[in-house]
Amino acid sequence: MNSTALWYTTRATGIVALILLTATMFLGLATTNRAKASRWPGYAQQELHRRVSLLAVVFLAIHILTSILDTFVSISWASLIIPFTSSYDRFWVGVGTISVDLMLAVMVSSLLRSHIKPGTWRGLHWLAYFSWPIALAHTFGMGTDAKETWVIALGIACVALVGGGLVWRLRMTAIQKQLRGVVANEARTHLVHNSAARSSSRHV
């Protein structure tokens, strides 16, 4: 494959990976308990989230592979996981590497989910909240297509989708916490009001 073809593939798969990662984030955020985002069954949403993430990884893998195989610029195999070791555009490739590292942690933790503590899994899964914006930064930092209008529009759409999803998720969590808090507090207030006169007899 000649260098130009590799280069176009790298750029294209990069954009597609970003879109798929955005979709993954959105689907993950939309899956909450008790407050369904849509009429879809919850388990189907979760399953879609998983499959889209796998698809994203596939495109990401191609993106990384073609960028390394492309001899026009020098990106070593090491810079796949060690940030800031590429000779070409050290900083922004490095940023991409960081995003991949975080993503690998998320992936591995999910593959090993039944063998690790739920708290550990959750903590590692939340690295996705860092991985995604760093991937976005890498996309625009690399600059190759970043000045194109449609790419900028795409970027804004991605931010809107994830941002909106995050806001929605935070609201749902707050509502749920409030509900539990209300239930508990209501119970306690009632108690103070109802036990008006305490038994006058004292003992032991």
Binding site: N33, R34, Y43, A44, S114
Partner: protein, 70 residues
Amino acid sequence: MTLKLLIDPVACDAYGFCAELLPESITLDEWGYPMVDGQALAPQLVAAAKRAARDCPRRAIELREIKRSV
């Protein structure tokens, strides 16, 4: 090997995926939490039960072997 469903009520956070995947054995109460009858799972339901256990976001479902009490 007969299996039954066991749900950890502390871990459960009422996602409801289990009831979607296994409506024959799991129904949700009015507060959204799953109810199981503690009976043996019919063999044709075991696959779906395993999936429900795997897909529970809180890992609150366990498939347990029913021990015959002598």
